[in-house]
């Protein structure tokens, strides 16, 4: 049964180069973009890497942070208990979250005591090594993980689908570009009023957002 429209399809990445959109925001306005990270950003990696290695190489993530802060992990929607052995493959979706409240949080927790209660949706150990070579993986950052890692990811630039950014702008309404001090598209200064037109029809956008110094 169809589960709903899929926003990102890394295997079908268009051949056209993504639009590079760079924004400089004032004050706390960068945080307004963090929910986009929850919908997924596209990252490149190497097939067969463990989830842990993939994340460490993605940057802005330290081993200590991974171990202590990232308490809930999903690989293709399955709760992951051991990211030092599970491998990533092309087209995978990886989601990271801090510890979650309540019973659901305890049940979904990485290596948690209550894992048996979600056995049917737990990631099972792979018997085969994933194929080597360059791969694309969707990474989703939720809640406190987005808050803590997100600003650096956004500063470096993240690859998002055009639909994601357009939906985000629509959701924000009149607050969409509040606090935007400067904007550039493909290295050229643009007005915020031009952004909607620039992103229309674009399949991929490399979005970078940083706070003003």
């Amino acid at each position: 049964m169809h589960t709903g429209r899929v926003v990102m399809k890394p295997r079908n990445q268009a051949s056209a180069a993504p639009l590079k959109l760079s924004l400089t925001m004032s004050g706390n306005a960068v945080s307004r973009f963090l929910p986009i990270l929850g919908e997924g950003i596209l990252l490149k990696g190497l097939g067969g890497e463990t989830v842990e290695d993939f994340l460490l190489k993605a940057g802005a993530v330290s081993p200590v942070y991974l171990k202590e802060r990232v308490q809930t992990v999903f690989l293709n929607g399955k709760a992951l208990d051991d990211f030092s052995t599970a491998q990533v493959a092309d087209g995978d979706s990886l989601a990271l979250s801090a510890a979650m409240p309540g019973l659901a949080g305890a049940v979904l927790r990485r290596g948690g005591f209550y894992a048996a209660m979600r056995r049917q949706i737990s990631h099972e150990a792979q018997t085969q090594t994933a194929a080597a070579g360059e791969i694309s993986v969707i990474l989703k950052l939720f809640n406190m993980v987005a808050r803590e890692l997100g600003p650096e990811f956004l500063k470096q630039g993240v690859l998002v689908s055009g639909d994601q950014l357009r939906n985000f702008v629509e959701r924000q309404g009149r607050w969409a570009w509040n606090g935007c001090l400067a904007a550039e598209a493909d290295g050229q200064p643009v007005k915020v009023s031009q952004i909607a037109e620039l992103v229309r029809g674009r399949e991929w956008i490399r979005l970078s957002v940083q706070g003003s110094v």
Partner: protein, 580 residues
């Protein structure tokens, strides 16, 4: 809290109030007390709206003291929705006020001879019961404003909206928050209908002149409280995640797990989830209302502050921050991805006095019946207005998903014992499904919520990797939760206690130093088992059989995408949950 206030609404000559010693109920609070009174004093076969039912409102053992997080209150009765025993739980201010007034419980008994509507005003000096027809069919917001105007701005208010007056099985009892808004609700099971059947529109409490309840060992209590608060503040869930995002932080995670019931439990993922996630909600609130809008406590003494304030597009207050359950029920479960519409639905539920879970589940069943389309936010809002106005359609919907499904010929109705399932699909997280099926309360996620069961050693040790581990885990969780529900403590403390041994010890020290008696894991187990035993026995006498400890059949047959799984726990295993 050495007395119980009994208010006989059907006494000859008019309603009468009498305070009496707690007697054999001494040492009980919260759910322990509501279930003890209901199981002892309410005939299990009575009609829930009859004079024989009782509505018991009981603060927790620590409510009214200086203990952090102790502002929860329990409302118990025979449920008009399930036909069994019910304990519904809420936050807000009245719990602490009733505790400081010295009442272990307020019990509404009997029934007026006519349809006169009453308000009850309780201070340390008096209990006043007055007829007031001007309150008839007022929404909770207007009602509380009226009570403030009449009794001042130091009051707490316990009230029903039009839904409770109309005795709908989805009706809630509202409790005012720190801003004196009716935003905290004892939602589940139709407790508001029972209050309506007693002819009581509002109970106004004023604890002016009362002191905080004193612990038996004040120095130890103070030290334990300090450690407890520090532990809550430093933990990632209670100190950061919940205050930043509220309970709606769960939307993205449960959706990712494929256990987010979507469009009447058809799918486990909702593609509009990003628009209604906790992250989006918090940013919206902080943008519109200013930084900090997404952080708010539901009662004084709450240090977690998982609530918040939701403003509309023009920056005006609309409602308190909708909870995960509300956002799911009115959002993903109805195919609605408009946060403003969901917030409006939350406001309407609060004002009309409706359980948001039951209401959302009911609207989804109505959508499956074709009454309006999935995703039609304005259509959903109209349906809630129908309920509030008491139209024929509204009367059907206001009585819950099971009734609605029956009236409109819908097979797929996600209820257990007549009560709608909350925001976790049991096919995805099957252990929660065990709790839905077996709890005495009907489908209820909070009945098995206290994840500290293993730390408390409740029920002995469990091998969680064994398939039957789910049964034992659910059992232990239900036992521990029943016990914690008696303390007045918010269940969200559970994670900090699970992870931090010193915070767990601080909780035990708080309870022990307050009562003067050391509390052990065995005590917690014994209390939890006692409560569950009372409740199970009541339900059995009310006609419940083991066949009612089941999920609807279609959960065993219909595969849930994206993982394409069915509920696989055997009936014979479900029957083992209460084998001890």
């Amino acid at each position: 809290m050495d007395k119980i206030l009994r208010i006989n609404m059907g006494a000859d000559g008019g309603p009468q109030a009498k305070a009496e010693p707690v007697g054999s109920y001494a040492g009980m609070g919260g759910r322990a007390l509501t279930s003890a009174i209901v199981s002892k004093e309410v005939p299990p076969s009575c009609h829930p709206l009859s004079e024989d039912n009782k509505l018991v409102i009981a603060p927790g053992l620590l409510s009214g003291s200086a203990a952090a997080m102790s502002g929860r209150i329990s409302v118990g009765c025979k449920s008009p929705l399930t036909g069994g025993i019910k304990e519904a739980n809420a936050g807000g201010q009245p719990s602490q006020m009733i505790g400081r007034l010295g009442y272990a419980a307020i019990v509404l008994e009997g029934k007026p001879k006519d349809d006169t509507l009453y308000k009850i005003y309780i201070t340390k000096d008096k209990v006043e019961i007055k007829a007031d027809s001007s309150l008839k069919m007022l929404g909770n917001y207007a009602l509380v404003d009226k009570m403030k105007a009449q009794y001042g701005d130091k009051i707490g208010c316990i009230s029903i909206g039009p839904a409770g007056e109309m005795k709908m099985a989805g009706a809630s009892v509202a409790f005012s928050d720190m801003e004196q808004r009716p935003t905290r609700h004892a939602g589940r099971g139709g407790v508001g209908a029972v209050m309506g059947s007693k002819g009581v529109k509002a109970i106004v409490v004023d604890d002016t002149g009362c002191s905080a309840r004193r612990p038996k060992e004040p120095d130890k209590f103070k030290e334990a409280n300090k450690t407890f608060v520090a532990g809550l503040r430093k933990h990632a869930v209670t100190g950061q995640g919940l205050p930043t995002y509220g309970t709606n932080v769960l939307t993205n995670v449960i959706n990712e797990a494929g256990a987010y019931p979507t469009k009447n439990f058809m799918w486990g993922r909702f593609d509009g989830c990003a628009k209604i996630s906790g992250e989006t909600q918090a940013e919206t609130e902080n943008t519109r209302g200013g930084e900090g809008s997404a952080t708010h406590g539901c009662h004084r003494g709450c240090v977690i502050r998982c609530s918040g304030t939701y403003y509309d597009k023009d920056g005006h207050y609309l409602t308190k921050q909708p909870e995960y359950e509300t956002v799911w029920a009115h959002g993903g479960n109805c195919g609605i991805d408009d946060l403003d519409a969901i917030a409006m639905l939350d406001r309407l539920d609060d004002d009309y006095g409706l359980d948001t879970i039951e209401m959302g589940a009911t609207i989804a069943v109505a959508m499956e019946a074709g009454i309006c389309k999935f995703g039609d936010a304005q259509g959903a809002i109209k349906l809630v207005h129908e309920v509030g106005k008491g139209t024929p359609l509204g009367r059907v919907l206001g009585n819950g998903a099971a009734v609605t499904g029956r009236v409109f010929g819908v097979e797929r109705v996600p209820v257990v014992k007549g009560q709608s399932m909350p925001a976790y699909d049991p096919r995805g997280i099957q252990g929660i499904g065990v709790t839905y099926a077996t709890t005495t309360q009907g489908a209820d996620h909070t009945a098995g919520y206290a994840v500290t069961a293993n730390i408390l050693g409740v029920g002995g040790s469990v091998n969680p990797l064994k398939p039957e581990g789910q049964i034992e885990l659910s059992r232990n969780l239900q036992i521990a939760t029943a016990a914690i529900d008696s303390t007045g403590m918010c269940l969200f403390i559970a994670f900090a206690i699970l992870d931090q041994a010193d915070t767990f010890q601080a909780l035990l020290d708080l309870l022990g130093s307050f009562s003067g008696q050391k509390l052990t894991a065995d005590d917690v187990t014994a209390l939890g088992k006692k409560i569950l035993k009372m409740e199970r026995e009541f339900n059995q006498k009310a006609g419940f059989t083991k066949e009612m400890d089941r999920l609807p059949d279609y959960f065993k047959k219909e595969k849930l995408p994206p993982h394409n799984i069915t509920f696989m726990v055997k009936d014979s295993d479900l029957d083992q949950v209460f084998n001890w």
